[in-house]
Symmetry: C2
Subunit: 371 residues, 2 copies
Amino acid sequence: MTDIATLGEFGLIKRLTKDIQIKNPSTKYGVGDDCAVLHYPKTETLVTTDMLMEGVHFDLTYMDFFTLGYKSAMVNFSDIFAMNGFPRQIIVSIALSKRFTIEDMDSFYQGMQAACDKWQVDIVGGDTTSSRTGLAISITCIGEAAKEDLVYRNGAKETDLICVTGDLGAAYMGLQILEREKAVYYSQIEDYNKKVNQAKELHDEAKLKALQQQRQAFEDFQPDFAGKEYLLNRQLKPEARGDMIDRLRALNIHPTAMMDISDGLSSELMHICEQSNCGCRIYEKEIPIDYQTAVTAEEFNLNLTTCALNGGEDYELLFTIPIGDHEKIKNIEGVRQIGYITKPNLGCMLVTRDSNEFQLQAQGWNPLQQK
Amino acid sequence: MTDIATLGEFGLIKRLTKDIQIKNPSTKYGVGDDCAVLHYPKTETLVTTDMLMEGVHFDLTYMDFFTLGYKSAMVNFSDIFAMNGFPRQIIVSIALSKRFTIEDMDSFYQGMQAACDKWQVDIVGGDTTSSRTGLAISITCIGEAAKEDLVYRNGAKETDLICVTGDLGAAYMGLQILEREKAVYYSQIEDYNKKVNQAKELHDEAKLKALQQQRQAFEDFQPDFAGKEYLLNRQLKPEARGDMIDRLRALNIHPTAMMDISDGLSSELMHICEQSNCGCRIYEKEIPIDYQTAVTAEEFNLNLTTCALNGGEDYELLFTIPIGDHEKIKNIEGVRQIGYITKPNLGCMLVTRDSNEFQLQAQGWNPLQQK
């Protein structure tokens, strides 16, 4: 493993960007000058940004650098798709503390590149610098859409159908599993260290030797994730739903409002209702949930609907369409109609399986209330 | 002072962005959706980004939030001017730890807004989140330039004149002063605490009381910066040189290559020579240096030319022009011709006052070699 200081900032940037090949005609000049130069003569330019902080948004205990790079890029694409546009360029800033190596950065860039290759996006620049502690990542994504294709949050109208892609709550359940395994791992280490210390105090050489032999077991610790692969993938390697944007266009469906679900369905739906000045009514029984999410919620003794409504990080699309498109939308596999838009004075309501009604609450992840 | 968690992410964003008024026709939609929407039908779109980490790029001991906001925006504008373009939008990400208040963020936004007002730039979006320790800022700036106006780093030609705006080394000297006063402040506090502890050990109540009365003096500590205002301003509140871009255009001067001087003249000049495949020859006696910079370098026993060549953070413009523009450039006050471009095999040379020649070395600030 190689210390980054040996390359310096410019050396590192050269190494990380040397294999980048420009794929978009809108990219006129990429990495290597004071700015990237882009050209969007006919479409609207979309810009979005996301900041990811170590210990808040990701945990390197259970996420490798490739996956982190992939996810960092993908969550930005998701915001562009949510406007009914397509991502074209990203610009990447990273601040690193001394504990990271050149090889870590290679993997991070390979992960970003894999996500970019999937959607034909160019890496066109950025900033590489140091941090006192931890890793900070900021990615800005530029995309495009024809003016008439753009979908904002504020266009939902009474009687519109509310639709979501994929299934919800799985990324959150994936996180619970990872956190549990991490806790198990650390408690085993703590236990082991306690035994070693006891043996040392008692000068029990035989015991110490036996413990030393167990040590390898910890270093090789592989948590048992059998059967949970789908949930883990949803958390670690989300896929932005550009495929759904393609399908909606192919069927000539133009959503009236759209968002990606990053903070949880409740929170996003309330944004759409607030900005569109309307209410909504969604049905618990229609919320799409994967079988594994349901099983795992039970395992963790968590309320499944709460997980699906507030889990976050699903990166599915939430959108509204005119009721007249009801027949068209039925033809898209993986889209579920979960309710409809109402008058504003009716509020944002959830109709439960037993026909009770509750006001939706945005219990989504609030990054500013973390420790 | 108010804890940020009381507002939550969306509440904070609303508060910070409520007074923003869009000034540019290219801004179609600003804060409030998944993306900002921009429109650049006739020009090239320029994109640049900078990440600023607490403890690495700024120190809140001697920088208030307004100034930090101002500088964070300004350094991004500087990169757009360096392409011979004009900034139009910024998108701002901030990660905060718990010790920051809503009022801190208000000041930060006011500082950014002041910089934006100076150059008619719109704040169009961003991300507000938390960090485990310290403050991280990432700003992406979008600007525009007609294709024929763009200036890259790679266009310098043999015999071109090398010019710099303003003066160099002042921001670096400002930093030295701030660091010195900070060290004085902390050593006085340490000294004071030692005396208090001694008095406590000796149960010397009279001494303790006297010390307590001195305490206010520390809390009111105001370092003596008289006569150093220019240097401090250069460090804390740099001005991107868009005024020079205006003047070059008015005189119909089109630089062949250009950069802003953020890492130091030597480092930037070597970038231009490397990317333009040429050498250069600059003259020590022509490097523009303010009188206060010279006085303070002597005070600190630092080599003045080294400070001017490698100091960094001046945010002046370095550019090359065809030798035929020699007469035109003479008319711009505040532009100095410091040398000329040579064949690549002649290297990057500094001619000293006593006519010795030295190879230039990029000793500029390397963020990845910090502690």
